[in-house]
């Protein structure tokens, strides 16, 4: 087959890759999108953000039915048909993925399914079902993402030892589930399985859960998880695992003290690894860091002038919305605009129960960078809206520059924090001051009021909470 000539080829059809391809097409470029799998959407749509949120939503129904008892409304105990649950989840993914395929078609983006392999800095070979297709490009964007890390010692080839990918397939609801890793993936999926009835034990090697978040924000999440999970073990390492019939025997190491337990399933959620193997990038001038992520500069350019990298494979925070932002930057740079990933506020959301979200500076980061901040908090125990649905375990926190009163960071823990954080992102991006947030009227009764009241608390006059007067 003769090589196809294109201006831009995007390798990887996840939220970074398809965003890049679509934007390039919108700007009038000839684009080819190469995706290894049948479905577009990448990890986010197929094995990450979307299916986990669908399952969390399903789990929420179960927990709210249970909580209704205290309000005088009782239901029969839930019966869970995992096949139907899985099919429902799949239907969502198909719908979304189909939507992306249609959007690609409508834009004239050619989608080639198959494994991409770089022959050199200007040529990509794709192994499609119909044979090999060579693509000669001016610019390539590598957006191949990351995969769940599976340490060699855990990889027994036993399907009961799962990563998030398999856990999201919900083969069954195991009676006893071990979650290894107290990051957001372990916490989110632990929540799903615990709600559906598994006895969940979560182990974490560090002495804290959700290490990236400020401690005061992580606290309500941990408190709730301790109630939902059978146990959370900190500073505990998993030594080795072995297959014991239909169970897994797991050896724990807690401060040198070794114990063994049996589990029906194990979820390994210890991080994610770059997905750049077998791409032929060694035939280009692209270089990698020691963890295997591609080196890029703030313009998403790799060390090969024709090749850009975006999303997880380019390192940094592994978040879909970061990938989409980088997609825009890469395309803008390719079409000759002066664009760069500088001063971009990337919000983080953990979809635990309660949700945890932050943007801009965290307290830890402010300390590390020597940035002086004033902190203003509004506890949700004072929010009428939070009390109305029995979840006062929330906190809204603002990090404020004491001189300009500019909002440098926002942290929220509580139900719906993921939706609320966007106002924080806007405030940080706009360089809004605490006064701006305090003066903007927020509707009552909503959780968004907690942001306004936290800003008011900075000035010592929050309506629903007593604050020490500011001494200036």
């Amino acid at each position: 087959m003769d090589p196809i000539k294109t201006e831009i080829v995007v390798v990887g059809g996840g939220p970074g890759g398809y965003a890049a391809a679509f934007y390039a097409a919108d700007l009038g470029k000839k684009v080819i999108l190469v995706e290894r799998e049948k479905r577009l959407g990448g990890v986010c749509l197929n094995r990450g953000c979307i299916p986990s949120k669908a399952l969390l939503h399903a789990a929420h129904t179960v927990s709210s039915a249970r909580e209704s008892e205290a309000r005088g409304i009782t239901f029969a105990p839930p019966k869970i048909d995992v096949n139907k649950l899985r099919a429902w989840k799949e239907s969502i993914l198909n719908r979304l993925s189909g939507g992306i395929t249609q959007l690609a078609k409508a834009r004239g983006v050619q989608v080639v399914h198959g494994r991409g392999y770089f022959e050199d800095s200007r040529m990509l070979r794709v192994e499609t079902e119909e044979g090999q297709q060579l693509i000669n490009y001016d610019h390539a964007i590598v957006a191949v993402g990351s995969i769940s890390a599976m340490p060699k010692t855990f990889d027994l080839g036993n399907p009961r030892i799962m990563t998030s990918q398999e856990a999201l397939e919900i083969e069954d609801i195991p009676e006893k589930l071990l979650v290894i890793g107290g990051g957001y993936i372990g916490m989110e999926l632990g929540t799903v399985y615990a709600t559906f009835g598994s006895q969940v034990v979560l182990v974490e090697a560090l002495d804290t859960i959700l290490a990236g978040a400020d401690a005061d924000l992580a606290r309500p999440v941990i408190a709730h998880a301790r109630k939902m999970f059978k146990e959370i073990r900190l500073k505990t390492k998993v030594g080795k695992m072995a297959t014991r019939g239909k169970q897994i025997q797991v050896e724990f190491d807690m401060d040198g003290k070794k114990t063994e337990e049996l589990y029906d399933r194990v979820l390994v959620a210890v991080g994610r690894s770059p997905n750049a193997d077998d791409l032929g990038l060694e035939n280009t001038k692209v270089s990698f860091d020691d963890r295997g992520f591609i080196h890029v500069n703030e313009k998403q350019q790799t060390t090969d002038p024709a090749i850009y990298a975006i999303g997880d494979i380019a390192g940094g925070v592994l978040l879909a919305h970061k990938a989409s932002k980088e997609a825009r930057i890469a395309i803008e740079v390719i079409v000759g605009e002066d664009s760069a990933f500088t001063d971009v506020t990337i919000p983080a959301v953990v979809f635990t129960d309660p949700e945890l979200a932050w943007c801009g500076l965290t307290e830890a980061e402010a300390r590390a960078r020597g940035i002086e901040v004033k902190i203003s908090k509004f506890p949700w125990t004072a929010s009428g809206r939070a009390l109305s649905f029995d979840r006062p375990d929330g906190l809204t926190k603002l990090l404020i520059d004491p001189d300009s009163e500019r909002i440098l960071g926002v942290g929220i823990v509580g139900t719906g924090a993921g939706e609320l954080i966007s106002e924080g992102v806007l405030a940080v991006e706009m360089g809004a001051t605490a006064k701006d947030l305090a003066l903007a009227v927020h509707p009552h009764p909503t959780l968004s009021e907690t942001i306004m009241e936290a800003a008011e608390a900075f000035y010592g006059h929050s309506t629903h909470t007593i604050v020490r007067k500011r001494v200036e």
Partner: protein, 432 residues
Amino acid sequence: MDFKLPPLGEGADSGTVVNLFVKEGDQVKKDQPILELENEKAVATIPANAAGTVTKVYVKPGDKISVGQKIIGLSDGGAAPAASAPSARNEPAPEVIQTGRAPVQTPSPEQADLDSTDVGSGGGLSPAAAPSIRKLARDLGIDLTRVRGSARGGRIVLEDVRAFIQRLQRLSTQPRTATPAETPTPAKPAAEQIDFSKWGPVNKKPLSPLRQVIARRMSENWSTIPHVTQFDSIDVTDLNALRKKYAEAYEKHDARLTLTSFALKAVVEALKKHPIFNASLDEAAQEIVFKEYYHIGIAVDTEAGLIVPVIRDVDKKNLIEISKELETVARKARERKVSGEELKGGTFTISNQGGIGGAHFTPIVNKPEVAILGLGRGALQPVVRNNSIEPRLLMPIGLSYDHRVIDGGSAARFVVDLLAAFQSFKAGDVKL
């Protein structure tokens, strides 16, 4: 406690750090120099406002800093330094490729008296501005740290960017070495690299920060001011005799009576008669600013390079006061202890090479002044006086001036009056 950049005076609110004298963990005394800041006229030292241990250094050489910005953290009790390395946020990889347009080089602070404030409170905060404004600034190559925000909390809004561009434009229409609006690299066009070692052994020394400042200023002054130098020679035979006669008496009062002391007085006499030589050209306002004070800069030759401290109100001081002050400032300049304040506000400069040697030379006008007087070494020369040849002590002078502001006739008249002033010193003027 954080030590912030104190007010610099004379409307200056920023400068570039050229040298940093302290590091974390250092003990500093009050008034000990912390750093050298380049602004307005030259390099000035910024002394500590209190004693203590340096817990944190917020700036590094090359940083543009503004009044009120944190320089160092000081603990008075010698507490443990509470510093940790800043963590990179969202920075996946080091800059590996240099491409794209370089930002427009905005004029340096002394060219454009642009309001430059650092809105952030240190720690590398970016200026507060909406994403749309930041994008616009990036497209236009404008460095937002140099734009003063007018909205609440110092936030930069569209009007601020517009006002900034208008000022830039106004300034760029005035004659000056403007950096080209778009250059492929941030650096100036690179001079051809010559391998001098081809022809014999060489050794290399980096350009010191002060030397860089001098180089930049000199080339800017030289290329933006149309210079004319008026030469003459002054008969200082009698003046030198007068000086020798009283030198000893001055010595007893710890003062060295030099020709420079007389030059200061003589220059002020001439300046009073020719105020245009004591003026400045305000390019932005298209006005000539006549100064009703006489602050004379004295070029001091130091090991590190040229420094020009200013002696204030020379017209109100007598010879002994001037002589003493001359010695003090020269010493401070050599020890690099001259404060920023002492380098500013000059209305005219004298460069006296007489102590070293040489005759006529063409000094470069010290912007924003409009004229400078260069004095050479006095030498005995045959002079025709009263129809006979006499040996007289003649001092060569060169008066450089800004021809935009001063005409040749004015310069000639100035020199005539200057000569007269040099020759009119009487014993009564010198006697203590």
